[in-house]
């Protein structure tokens, strides 16, 4: 029956990991602008030639 404790612990740890991920993403400013990324994601394919040099879009630069 101890298995219930194991399962409970695991499920809560998983839940808390996602919760922390959420808090971090808010803190990094991912929720400040929820419109532009939806457009930006469509660009990548249309870029020509040297597009690969473009640095990945990082949100870290945003003020936190």
């Amino acid at each position: 029956m101890g298995v219930i404790y194991v399962l409970l612990t695991i499920s809560i740890i998983v839940a808390i990991i996602f919760f922390i991920a959420f808090i971090l993403s808010v803190r990094n400013g991912q929720y400040d602008d929820i419109y532009t990324p939806s457009i930006r994601i469509l660009f990548e394919d249309e870029l020509v030639k040297e597009s690969k040099e473009k640095s990945p879009v990082s949100t870290k630069n945003n003020q936190s």
């Binding site: 219930i4 839940a15 808010v26 400013g29 929720y31 400040d32 419109y35 457009i39 870029l47 030639k49």
Partner: protein
């Protein structure tokens, strides 16, 4: 003739089409931008959206102040070694092409290492290498491709803005706890008395308790704070029963699990907080690219050019100076289309000042050397030199902002509908709770405390508290879609209560773009018309340009002689014919007319011919708007302009309309104040800085704006000028929305009555609470959202 539009900006190409690369352009500016993009393999810009561009503006010398280190220092947010980061506000950002081209800026200029657009806020964050490019060059680069940044004194003064994300955190925490508590309480909903569930239920219960802790003490703290504040100022606001409900829920649940009496109501508790916060989040619709708190600072430039005299008399030096540093006696150079930042005296040049934004006068005024110029005017013909008389803070215009009205917070004194209702509601449930407890004390002592807490729990006005935020939040979004932007949801409620509307004239009910021009006098011959057009062609005066634009097409030829007499008019000569265009006395008109409208008089070969009269062009639908509104509202027009249009306005407007002219900014403010003292609720509709005081004083200040991205004075709402004819619809929708909220209150009372039945009879089990609470909340949300959507259908999108 085939109508062709510009490939770059989508404007009508007019008469001078430029063909380039098999495409048509309206001007050289657009062609150049296209050329820049195509040589850098960026023509993809035009694939994402057709005609996304803007005509690049003439910016020569405008950004010289960005060379001054002390000024740029304030604008740049990050500066390390040779990397700098700056965030620039670019009003033109409007489509996906804009995002694409700005984020590919590094292909145009390798010095730019990274650029990221924030579309809702219309700004771009640019990281650049100072060894390769300076801030000034970045700004010039942006301007050259039609994305001129808007840098105002506001950017200079305000530091970095902190974004308040606490509501998202709270919502996240409440949602997280709500979901988990729901799972954990599921077994007990069905009361399965299986052996192993019995054994583990204590673990489950304490886990639920743990999850509810952050919800009560962090996510719900606003409700406690607001309830406490309300009680201290003796107001029973809606947060009092909410806070009480949350507290009682938590205490009773904790004691239940502590003494093994039951599961408690942790599911209802977390659910309640989650829904309440959701409502708050929904109501908090902000238009991040608009600002409702603007004052003169966002209208003024950061810096101007100061002329300093060197020791030798004729040697002069120009330098950029921050406007706050302008001292009395400084010589300033104001270029064409630049703003006069301080009160001053004109020293040199032909001043033609457009004060329309400051005073409401529609016509630009000519000033000659020695005249006094007021801050806020815009120079519209060539460069001038002025000598500063005062510093920025002491100027006439900026002093307007020292009026008390700008520091008073309107929302503080406003008690909203929910709080009004909640006063009676809270009293009622407290009475019921006490009565029920007394009754139960005489029947069954052990149940009395249970009943008392159950009443407070079930009466927690979740549905009541949600009706308003969802209804108003929805209306806010619908208005936003049809270009009527409100500062917050309270504005809708105030709007529904108003009974008086006051309009400004210039720029509000008239358009500032086109004026109607009519000719009165002797018929001009064909030669004369041709001469007139060609003479006007040479002039840069705004009136000449608008007259030029409406005259029929003529052959272009060079004049033999052309002279401009400042403040009087222009003179042209071709072969034997001479023409004089300008003021009445200049052309030698004997019969002085009494018309107050702007006129241009014409004489040929010293013989008076006639005049062109400029009429204000009123917005389309103005007659309809006024006649519809007159049924339910008192209407007035307050104008800073002269009485020239009085007769015309009298003719087209409803008879009751009050017309007042020559109103100074302060007169408008006092007029509104006097109406408010007669218990009238006033809407002020205005546009310029001259209305700023009136907009702040009125109950609802609506700023009309031709382009919502550029400056509009501090107000409660911004209305796109094209939607002016919809104004009565917006007001009637607001009224309907308030009715919807009131009717939803009745529905939510019914839910409370059902819940109270369970509570008073002592039958409130966790499962009843867990069903009733979400059910009532969700049905109310659906009810108000649907109704407001139905009412808003008549708005034209």
């Amino acid at each position: 003739m085939i109508e062709s539009t510009c490939f770059h900006c989508g404007n009508d190409c007019g008469k001078t089409i430029i063909n380039f690369d098999q495409k048509t352009f309206c001007c050289n500016g657009c062609k150049t931008v296209y050329d820049i993009f195509s040589t850098h393999n960026l023509s993809c810009y035009y694939d994402l959206q057709s005609a996304p561009g803007a005509i690049p503006e003439e910016i020569k010398g405008k950004y010289d102040y960005l060379d001054t280190h002390t000024i740029t220092e304030k604008l740049i947010e990050f500066d390390n070694d040779n990397t700098q980061i700056v965030t620039l506000y670019i009003p033109h950002i409007h489509c996906s092409s804009c995002i694409w081209i700005l984020e590919n800026l590094h292909k145009l200029q390798p010095g730019v290492t990274f650029a990221q657009v924030n579309f809702p806020e219309k700004n771009v964050r640019i990281t650049f290498n100072t060894e390769q490019i300076s801030l000034k060059e970045v700004v010039i680069l942006l301007s050259s491709i039609g994305y001129e940044p808007y840098i105002s004194l506001d950017d200079y003064a305000s530091g970095k803005k902190r974004i308040d994300r606490s509501l998202i955190y709270k919502l996240g925490i409440a949602g997280f706890a709500f979901g988990n508590v729901m799972f954990l309480s599921f077994p007990e909903y069905f009361e399965i008395s299986e052996y192993w569930l019995e054994q583990y239920k204590y673990v489950f219960r304490w886990l639920m308790f743990a999850f509810s802790l952050p919800v009560v003490f962090y996510a719900a703290q606003d409700y406690f704070i607001s309830a406490y504040k309300g009680l201290r100022s003796k107001i029973l606001n809606i947060d009092v029963p909410i806070g009480l409900g949350i507290l009682v829920l938590f205490l009773r649940s904790t004691s239940e699990i502590l003494f093994d009496l039951g599961t408690g109501f942790f599911d209802s508790l977390t659910g309640l907080v989650f829904f309440l916060l959701l409502g708050k989040f929904f109501q908090q619709k902000t238009y991040s690219f608009l600002s409702f708190e603007r004052d003169y600072k966002s209208y003024f430039p950061v810096a101007v050019t100061r002329i300093t005299k060197a020791k030798q008399k004729y040697e002069r030096k120009e330098e950029s100076v921050q406007v706050y540093d302008i001292k009395q006696g400084d010589r300033l150079l104001i270029r064409n289309e630049e703003l006069i930042p301080v009160d001053g005296i004109l020293i040199e040049g032909n001043a033609l000042i457009d004060y329309s934004f400051v005073t409401g006068e529609s016509e630009s005024v000519t000033k000659t050397s020695g005249d006094k110029l007021f801050a806020g005017g815009k120079q519209v013909s060539g460069a001038i030199e002025i000598e500063a008389l005062k510093s920025v803070e002491q100027s006439y215009l900026t002093q307007l902002w020292s009026n008390d009205i700008f520091t008073k917070d309107k929302s503080a004194s406003f008690i909203n509908l929910t709080d009004t209702v909640s006063k009676y509601f809270t009293m009622a449930i407290l009475c019921i709770a006490v009565l029920a407890t007394i009754v139960w004390l005489s029947i069954d002592m052990s149940k009395a405390i249970n009943v008392f807490t159950a009443v407070l729990i079930i009466a927690c006005p979740c549905a009541l508290a949600l009706a308003r935020p969802f209804a108003l939040g929805n209306v806010l979004r619908i208005f936003g879609k049809s270009k009527f932007y409100l500062k917050n949801a309270d504005v809708i409620e105030v709007l529904a209560k108003t009974d008086t509307i006051i309009f400004d004239k210039t720029g509000t009910i008239t358009t500032n773009k086109k004026s109607k021009i009519a000719y009165q006098g002797l018929q001009l011959t064909r030669d004369e018309e041709s001469l007139l057009k060609n003479t006007l062609r040479a002039s840069n005066h705004p009136l000449s340009r608008s007259l030029y634009a409406i005259l029929a097409e003529q052959n272009i030829y060079t004049l033999d002689d052309y002279q401009e007499h400042i403040g009087k008019g222009i003179e042209g000569k071709s072969e034997q014919n001479t023409i004089k265009i300008g003021s009445s006395s200049f052309v030698g008109n004997q019969n002085e007319s009494e018309l107050l409208n702007t006129t241009i008089h014409i004489s040929t070969n010293d013989q008076y011919k006639g005049k062109y009269v400029f009429y204000n062009q009123y917005r389309k639908g103005i007659k309809n708007v006024f006649h519809t509104l007159a049924k339910t509202y008192n209407l007035s027009i307050l104008s800073g302009d002269n009485e020239g249009e009085k007769e015309y306005l009298k003719r087209i407007l409803p008879r009751k309309t009050t017309l007042l002219f020559n109103q100074k900014p302060n007169d408008k403010l006092t007029y509104i104040k006097s109406l408010q003292q007669d218990q009238q609720k006033v809407i002020m509709v205005g546009d310029g800085l001259n209305d700023a005081g009136a907009l702040a004083q009125s109950d609802v200040g609506i700023a009309i704006s031709e382009n919502v991205n550029v400056f509009s004075p501090a107000c409660d709402a911004i209305l796109d000028a094209t939607k002016f004819d919809q104004i009565s619809n917006y007001i009637s929708i607001s009224k309907k929305a308030i009715q919807t909220i009131k009717s939803s209150f009745i529905v939510s009372f019914l839910y409370n009555v059902i819940g109270l039945y369970f509570a008073v009879t002592g039958q409130l089990s966790p499962i009843v609470a867990a069903i009733l609470m979400p059910l009532s909340s969700i049905s109310i949300v659906i009810y108000v959202t649907l109704l407001t959507n139905i009412y808003s259908r008549k708005l034209e999108k």
